[in-house]
C-alpha cells in the first residue's frame, strides 16, 4: 500500500473524520461545545486506559526489553529542545523565553497523537510493542524541564525576574495531571498484570477506540478555534510546525530501529518524537515561564503540528519505518 493510499485510509478512519468534523464545527461557529468536565473526563479515561494497558504489557514482557529503548526515548525527548531552541532563537528570531517554551513543547509529547497512532497501526494490522506506552510516559517531562532551564538561563541573562520558581516546573512536570495519570496507571497496570486486566478490560480496552473518536471531535473544535491565531504567529512558525515533526519523527523511527524495536514500535517512537505536547507542557510552561507568549506555543502545537500528525504525519512515519526495516 503506497503512502497516498495509506494517508487516504487514515483520513477515512472515524477518529480522523470526527476530528475534521470538530474543526468544521469551529469554522462555521456551531454552538457545539463539550463542557469542560466532559473534556477532562475523556482525558482522564484515555490516559488511564493507555497507561494501564502499557503497564500490563510491561508486566508481561518484563523490563529487560523495555529499558534500552526507554532510555533512548528519554534522551531523545531531552535533546530535541537543544536543536529546536537555537533554531527558533537565531533563525526564527523569537525571544529566548519564547524559543525555550516552544522547544519544551516539541521535546515533550502528545498522548492523544500517540493513541491515534496505535489506533492507526491496529487498523493497518501492523503489530507494535504494547509497552511502547512506557516511552510516552518517560518522554513527557524531560523536555519540559530542559525547556524551563533554557528559559530561566535566558531570562536570567536578560536580568528579568523569573516567575514561578523552577521547583514549580519540576513539580508540575512530574505530578501534573496528565503525566501523573499516565505513569500512575502504568504502575497500577504493571502491578496487577493480566489478572487485573481481565477485570477492567471491558471498560478500559473494548470501547477505547470509540471514546477516542468522540474525544477527537472535541479536539477538532479546540484546534479549530485556534486556527484564527495562525496569522498571528507568522510564516516561520507555520513552516516549523510541519518540518519539526517530520525531522523529529524520522529521528524517532531511526532511534527505534537502533534500539531493537519492531516496525510498529519504531513508528510509535517516531510519532512521539514528532508530536508536540499541548496538555502537560502548556501548564508547566505557563506557570514557570509566564513571560513566554502562549499564543506561539499553543498555536504551533495545537493548531499546526497536532492536526498535521493526526492526518498526514502518522502514515508518513510508518512509511518511513517500512523503508528503514529490511
Amino acid at each position: 500500500m503506497d503512502v497516498f493510499e495509506a494517508i487516504r485510509a487514515n483520513l477515512l478512519s472515524p477518529a480522523v473524520l470526527f476530528f475534521a468534523l470538530g474543526i468544521f464545527a469551529a469554522l462555521v461557529k456551531s454552538d457545539l461545545k463539550f463542557p469542560e468536565p466532559l473534556y477532562v473526563g475523556l482525558t482522564i479515561y484515555l490516559l488511564v486506559a493507555i497507561g494501564f494497558k502499557g503497564g500490563v504489557a510491561i508486566a508481561e514482557s518484563g523490563l529487560r526489553q523495555v529499558w534500552l529503548p526507554g532510555v533512548a526515548a528519554m534522551l531523545l525527548g531531552a535533546l530535541i529542545p537543544v536543536w529546536i531552541f537555537p533554531m527558533l532563537r537565531y533563525v526564527g528570531k523569537f525571544t529566548a523565553v519564547d524559543s525555550a517554551a516552544i522547544a519544551a513543547h516539541y521535546g515533550s509529547v502528545s498522548a492523544v497523537t500517540f493513541i491515534a497512532a496505535t489506533d492507526y497501526l491496529k487498523s493497518v494490522n501492523v503489530p507494535y510493542e504494547g509497552y511502547a506506552t512506557a516511552f510516552l510516559a518517560v518522554m513527557e517531562s524531560p523536555a519540559i524541564l530542559v525547556g524551563v532551564v533554557l528559559g530561566k538561563l535566558a531570562t536570567k541573562k536578560a536580568g528579568e525576574s523569573s516567575g514561578a520558581s523552577l521547583r514549580t516546573a519540576v513539580h508540575e512536570a512530574i505530578f501534573g495531571r496528565s503525566i501523573f495519570l499516565l505513569v500512575g496507571a502504568l504502575v497500577v497496570g504493571a502491578l496487577c498484570g493480566t489478572a487485573g486486566m481481565a477485570k477492567v478490560q471491558a471498560f478500559f480496552v473494548t470501547p477505547f477506540q470509540g471514546v477516542l473518536a468522540l474525544f477527537l471531535l472535541e479536539m477538532g473544535i479546540v484546534a479549530g478555534r485556534r486556527l484564527g491565531d495562525l496569522k498571528k504567529v507568522g510564516p516561520f512558525l507555520l513552516g516549523f510546525g510541519v518540518l519539526a515533526p517530520l525531522l523529529n519523527g524520522a529521528l524517532g523511527v531511526y532511534l527505534g530501529q537502533l534500539t531493537g524495536l519492531g516496525i510498529g514500535g519504531a513508528t510509535l517512537l517516531g510519532v512521539l518524537a514528532a508530536s508536540a505536547s499541548y496538555i502537560a507542557a502548556p501548564a508547566a510552561i505557563r506557570m514557570s515561564l509566564p513571560d513566554a507568549n502562549p499564543t506561539f506555543y499553543l498555536t504551533a502545537s495545537l493548531a499546526i503540528t497536532f492536526p498535521f500528525n493526526i492526518t498526514v504525519g502518522i502514515p508518513l512515519y510508518l512509511a518511513f519505518a517500512r523503508q528503514l526495516f529490511p
Partner: protein
C-alpha cells in the same frame, strides 16, 4: 447591628495564575477567598473556558482597605504584564470586622 467597611478586591484572570494569586493572598494576609470558574473576553482575546489551557477564573477577596491597596499594587507590579488579568476593588460592609 453594626457593619464594618471592607474592600472587595475582584481579580479576573487565566486559570494558570491561580496558584500564584493564592500565594500572593497568603502573603498579604487575606483570611480567605472565593473562586469562580468563568468565561470571558478582553484584550488577550476570548477565553471560552472550554479546556484548561484557556480557562478563566474570578477571585473575590474581602480585606481591610489598607491591605487592598497592597494587594492591588502587587498585582499591578508582578502580574499584569504576565497574565491575562484585570483587577478592581469596591466597597462592601461586613458584620464581623475581625474575621477579615
Amino acid at each position: 447591628m453594626n457593619t464594618y467597611p471592607m474592600k472587595r478586591v475582584t481579580i479576573v484572570c487565566e486559570a494558570y495564575a491561580k496558584d500564584a494569586v493564592k500565594k500572593l493572598l497568603r502573603e498579604i494576609g487575606a483570611h480567605g477567598y472565593t473562586i469562580f470558574d468563568v468565561e470571558g473576553a478582553g484584550s488577550r482575546g476570548e477565553r471560552p473556558g472550554d479546556i484548561r489551557e484557556f480557562a478563566n477564573i474570578q477571585i473575590e477577596v474581602i480585606i481591610p482597605p489598607e491591605r487592598a491597596v497592597v494587594l492591588l499594587q502587587r498585582l499591578e507590579k508582578e502580574f499584569f504584564s504576565r497574565y491575562a488579568m484585570i483587577a478592581y476593588d469596591s466597597d462592601v460592609r461586613v458584620l464581623r470586622e475581625n474575621k477579615f
